[in-house]
């Protein structure tokens, strides 16, 4: 795998999530979770262990620097990597439905974990309104972004990864 390209992609994902989308502000407050999408795609292409490690690292960085509760984002990203990794070598890498659906499911779980945390912190968000105006659009956007990221990773990273695997097997 072209490591530098992978690192660059993750840095870009980090930047988009923590700075760019905050400044842009899409309609309402909906936003894709680019880091989660990248971690899920990596899981499908690289397997659960490396994707979980990447999810752990990038999530912890975001937590420490920006988020109120340290560990929650990291936990959800790590588990997203594992979820993506469940499909490693089980489907063709061309299959775009698997990573997209996994990213949507993981984003759904992540938002509900954070919703629960905000409830514990004292917030009382109206669930159905929040679901309709933020959670649903955001997880669909995350799925869409995952599809694009997966296409990019598959084209630029997967071939080299496959070669490394082949060398290992020899």
């Amino acid at each position: 795998m072209r490591k530098w390209l992978l690192v660059l992609s993750l840095v870009l994902a980090f930047y988009l999530d923590t700075v760019f989308f905050n400044l842009i502000g899409l309609y309402g407050k909906m936003r894709p979770d680019v880091m989660l999408a990248a971690v899920v795609s990596l899981g499908v292409l690289m397997g659960p262990a490396p994707a979980a490690a990447v999810g752990f690292g990038i999530g912890l960085l975001a937590d420490i620097f920006f988020n109120k509760i340290v560990g929650l984002t990291s936990l959800t990203y790590m588990l997203s990597g594992v979820a993506g990794g469940l499909f490693f070598h089980k489907f063709y890498a061309d299959n775009l439905v698997i990573p997209t659906a996994t990213a949507v499911a993981c984003a759904f779980v992540k938002e509900h974990i954070l919703l629960f945390a905000s409830l514990l912190a004292g917030a009382r968000p109206p669930y159905f309104l929040t679901f309709a105006t933020y959670i649903l659009p955001s997880i669909l956007l995350t799925g869409g972004v995952c599809l694009l990221i997966h296409l990019f990773f598959k084209k630029n990273l997967y071939r080299q990864l496959w070669r490394q695997e082949a060398i290992k097997l020899e």
Binding site: V19, G25, D63, A123, T133
Partner: protein
């Protein structure tokens, strides 16, 4: 069971999950993991400062793209024409604007009392809608401590909740878990405001509550200031203005929607009040 623990990746995963849950527990309650946050924060902060500053230009472009009304397009065209004059003129304008913002902030600071301040730049915000936390580039090395109030030229921003060596996190007053003791400037009634969880629009709102039930003359436009009660925030800092007054059917009291005076979406510079004689 034995087989699971002999599986190294699963074991590492379980340990990581336990560690993260412990971190989440401690960070949600007492924030007692500064060593970890410091180490990472010191390294990442300069990069993040650069990234945030560079993003404003790009963000402006996209903002115009999404808000393509006639006025926005006209504004964009005029801005483009202006940009063609010279790059030096633009730089000068930018510096002038920054100077004006800082001057306004200092004037505002001077008007609310004889306090000591540390100025800082916003370098990031929490992702998602669940919490409203802002990261700024001033920390322990500048004398910032947990609990210190943060203001901008427009009014109250929030309170420092986490401090690193050269950065800190500020929980904004629009966070739905935050409450602030306030006074209605015109009527001098003491009440509270808290953040409203709002995902339907970009703008943030506050809810004014604990108003005396016999209070009937609260009207839209009334200015809300901090009351100083509790010693967390200094007295007399502008919080916002009343947008809508309504009857709370549950308590038969009066509630109001308050529009914060600070534009949290475009917040760039802030001041941390390091000493106001309150109970920090």
């Amino acid at each position: 069971m034995k087989k699971s623990f002999s599986n190294k990746p699963v074991l590492i995963m379980v340990i990581a999950i336990v560690l993260l849950l412990v971190l989440a527990f401690f960070s949600a309650s007492s924030r007692t993991i500064p060593w970890l946050e410091n180490a990472v924060g010191v390294v990442v902060r300069p990069v993040q400062t650069f990234a945030f500053k560079a993003s404003n230009g790009i963000a402006g472009f996209f903002r115009n793209l999404f808000n393509a009304t006639d006025a926005d397009l006209e504004n964009a065209r005029l801005k483009q024409e202006l940009a063609q004059y010279t790059q030096a003129k633009l730089d000068l304008d930018e510096l002038k604007k920054e100077n004006e913002r800082l001057r306004a902030m200092l004037n505002y600071a001077g008007s609310i009392g004889d306090y000591e301040f540390v100025t800082a730049r916003v370098i990031g915000k929490s992702s998602g809608v669940w919490f409203d936390v802002i990261t700024i580039n001033a920390g322990r090395s500048s004398g910032v401590e947990v609990g210190m109030p943060v203001i901008s030229g427009d009014g109250l921003v929030g309170r420092v909740t986490d401090v690193g060596l050269n950065w800190c996190k500020v929980t904004a007053i629009i966070d739905s878990s935050v409450t602030v003791a306030v006074t209605v400037e015109r009527t001098r009634d003491n009440c509270m405001v808290r953040g409203i969880f709002n995902t339907a629009s970009k703008s943030s709102e506050l809810e004014l509550y604990y108003l005396p039930t016999d209070l009937t003359d609260l009207v839209p436009g009334d200015v809300i200031m901090t009351s100083g009660i509790g010693g967390i925030y200094p007295k007399g800092i502008k919080v916002g203005s009343v947008e809508e007054v309504m009857l709370d059917t549950d308590t038969s009291g009066i509630n109001a929607i308050v529009s914060p005076s600070v534009d949290f979406l475009h917040l760039e510079e802030v001041m941390v009040i390091t000493d106001f004689g309150g109970a920090l």
